[in-house]
């Protein structure tokens, strides 16, 4: 089947663009970049056509990487139904976004650099998805983290961009630390890292056997997932990550990379099923994140920030689904979210492009006539995310909320409120952007074909994508949760979505004066939310400052300067002393040195002759 070809194509593209891109024409660069991703997309299609819907994972072993004692880690790729869904989402959406980026980045510097990083990201993402053991997963995990860092700091001349990149990288380090600990624990307890082996071992355990270390593994994995997928408490990096170019936000920070955590937890579902406590934590974190982020999103004025918080909140939804044990629902929402959130970001990018760099909602408005296509596609995404039936968001969100209701009603209600807020802030952004009168001073222009064609495709997907019945497809892996008998839950969530839209319409189209009044009356709450609950400041005080001070005083002055330097200098002095003695043997004649060597060898041979092993 040559699965290795799937990640190989983007990697080749990365090599070509990375090494020769500087000398290649922009056309050539974009052809290489998009072509390579298209090739791997086609190869994915071929693979899936060949495999169909495999009952068991189809595995390919390439090279045994690490062999130490019983532990034997190989470089092997595996494809099962979950992987197929992920592959399709990653390569498909990735390809669309690549095409979009050709138009969006057309006037930017470092064109080839951007696409080299982009391809590299695709490579690592595919490794992450295809890898058949935790170590390969971890390799891809770190790789996408690196690419995300590189791309957030793409405009490395601006300070805020590099700061955002560093923030993302450091926050992710925390998560990755948890993940690596989890991997060590798994290797320790199962003696293997292969998914197949580990999960079969877990499966064989009786369900009531719930050793603490499984919970530990699950929680550590959760830390990693929370870092990568921007969950509480590690979500702070994602909003800042919007400093990168918009296609990056769409591909990495909305569609694919940030969902890696969801994928990872789903992948290790067997482990979680043996630790209800960890599942519960996942659900709580998910719902809390969903609610918090949505509430922050209500008042942001930067269009990309709004969508960023929306991403965090939607990821919260997915975690809620996982926590409720509805893994397939989580993956379902992952897919639909990939569609409409990528669309939202690309649309936002197209708006920004039209306003040549303007991101503040307060300077937009009335763009509906100026950039109709973007407007239309964005509204498609809006209805999709707001969960308006029969569009994609409705199906997945309904699946999640249904599962949540089965799991615990209050989570369901929180989810409903979140759905309401989601609909509200998305449409707030859309109305502010497209309705009313233009408040900016640029001259908006519709985006070129290469940019709106992907928008159109994604719009179609986010409208109709809900009919791809992922839960049914994944049923052999994750049995469906029992359908909740009473379907009033569905009506409630739909009503919440519609209500949100209506309220947004009321506030920002019908009676634009109301929001200010409201913000004035609820001033304290408004400031609290507007400043994102002062979480960043909190972290600054509680985490960053002590670390910095501690390392400055204790580590640097104390340990480094006195201890380590002292030791090093001491060793140096010792060596100089010995050398002073030995230097008399150094007469600078190579042949004499050779003589010493021969003498030594003779000594060895004689030793061998009399007490050596040569008998």
């Amino acid at each position: 089947m040559q699965l290795w070809l799937i990640p190989l194509f983007p990697f080749a593209g990365f090599l070509v663009n990375g090494f020769f891109g500087r000398r290649m024409s922009k056309l050539a660069v974009s052809l290489v970049a998009c072509g390579s991703v298209l090739l791997s997309f086609l190869w994915v299609l071929k693979t899936i056509a060949a495999l169909g819907a495999p009952e068991a994972a189809y595995l390919e072993h390439y090279y045994s990487w690490i062999q130490s004692g019983a532990l034997n880690i190989g470089v092997d790729f595996a494809v099962d139904r979950l992987t197929e869904v992920m592959l399709l989402v990653v390569t498909g959406v990735g390809f669309l976004i690549h095409i979009y980026a050709v138009g969006y980045m057309a006037h930017e510097g470092g064109y080839y650099r951007f696409f080299a990083y982009f391809n590299l990201f695709m490579f690592f993402m595919l490794i992450l998805v295809l890898g058949a053991n935790f170590l390969l997963l971890f390799v891809g995990w770190e790789g996408v983290g690196l690419c995300s860092y590189l791309l957030i700091g793409f405009y490395f001349l601006e300070k805020f961009a590099t700061d955002a990149g560093n923030k993302a990288f450091i926050v992710n380090r925390i998560g990755d630390f948890g993940f690596s600990l989890a991997v060590f624990l798994i290797a320790l307890h199962f003696g293997s890292l292969d998914f197949g082996r580990v999960f079969s071992l877990v499966k064989d355990m009786p369900v009531e056997a719930r050793p603490g270390w499984i919970t530990a593994i699950c929680l550590l994995l959760l830390v990693g997932a929370a870092g990568k997928s921007a969950q509480i408490p590690l979500y702070v990096w994602l909003p800042d990550a919007m400093a990168g170019p918009t296609p990056v936000s769409a591909l990495i920070h909305a569609a694919t990379m940030v969902t890696a955590g969801v994928y990872m937890i789903t992948r290790s579902a067997q482990l979680y099923l043996h630790s209800p406590f960890a599942l519960n934590i996942v659900a709580i974190i998910g719902v809390a994140t969903a609610f918090l982020a949505a509430s922050i999103g209500l008042v942001q004025n930067d269009i990309k920030k709004v969508f960023a918080y929306s991403t965090v909140s939607q990821l919260g939804y997915m975690f809620l689904a996982l926590g409720c044990g509805a893994f397939s629902a989580g993956i379902f929402h992952l897919m639909t979210h990939a569609f409409f959130k990528a669309l939202l970001f690309l649309g936002a990018g197209s708006v920004i492009h039209a306003l040549s760099g303007e991101q503040d909602l307060r300077n937009m408005g009335g763009l509906a006539k100026k950039i109709p296509i973007t407007c239309a596609t964005l509204f498609c995404a809006g209805v999709a995310i707001a969960g308006v039936p029969p569009f994609s968001g409705f199906h997945s969100k309904d699946a999640i909320l249904g599962a949540a209701f089965e799991y615990s009603p209050w989570m369901y209600w929180l989810g409903v409120v979140t759905a309401f807020m989601t609909a509200f802030y998305v449409f707030r952004a859309l109305f502010l952007c497209f309705f009313g009168s233009y408040r900016g001073h640029h001259h908006p222009h519709e985006s070129p074909l290469v940019m709106w064609a992907p928008l159109a495709v994604l719009a179609a997907l986010s409208l109709g994508g809900g009919y791809i019945n992922v839960p049914k497809f994944l049923e052999p892996m994750f049995p469906l949760a029992a359908e909740s008998g009473d379907d009033w839950t569905v009506y409630v969530s739909v009503a919440a979505g519609l209500g949100g839209i209506a309220l947004a319409y009321l506030f920002y189209v019908a009676a634009p004066s109301v929001p200010e009044a409201l913000a004035g009356s609820l001033h304290g709450l408004y400031r609290l939310i507007y400043n994102k609950y002062f979480v960043d400041e909190l972290y600054e005080e509680v985490v960053v400052r002590p670390v910095v001070d501690g390392s400055r005083t204790l580590l640097w002055r104390g340990a480094d300067a006195s201890l380590i330097d002292g030791a090093v200098n001491g060793i140096g002095r010792l060596a100089r002393g010995i050398g002073g003695i030995l230097k008399f043997a150094q007469n600078g004649y190579i042949r004499d040195y050779a003589g010493w060597v021969v003498l030594g060898s003779i000594a060895v041979v004689i030793y061998m002759a009399f007490h050596g092993g040569a008998r």
Partner: protein, 110 residues
């Protein structure tokens, strides 16, 4: 030792190969010690490498596995790299000092 004709006609003992390799190695060492021309010294190093290769091959014959062949293959590769760099160094030395006398290149002293 069996009588001579049998020795001549029969197969050669493995130890002969090993002894030959020892002799060649010693010759290489001797060349290193006696010759003063850098290139010749270099070549005696190659001679030693060859001797070692011979014993590799002989032993892998004894063990019935071809790992020894692979080792000597690597030895050849390394020797090639070494020859490239070493000869380049010799060229530079000659450019600098117009001599190949190894004893006159003794700036390591002090």
């Amino acid at each position: 030792m069996p009588p001579l004709p049998a020795v001549i006609h029969g197969p050669a003992p493995l130890s002969w190969y090993l002894i030959l390799s020892a002799v060649l190695f010693a010759l290489g060492a001797a060349g290193f010690l006696f010759r003063r021309n850098i290139i010749t010294v270099f070549m005696s190093i190659e001679l030693m490498l060859n001797a070692v290769n011979l014993s590799f091959i002989a032993f892998s014959y004894k063990l019935g596995r071809n790992d020894g062949h692979i080792f000597s293959f690597f030895v050849m590769v390394v020797a090639a790299a070494e020859a490239a760099v070493g000869l380049a160094i010799i060229l530079t030395v000659f450019k600098n000092r117009q001599t190949l006398e190894i004893d006159e290149v003794s700036s390591l002293k002090n």
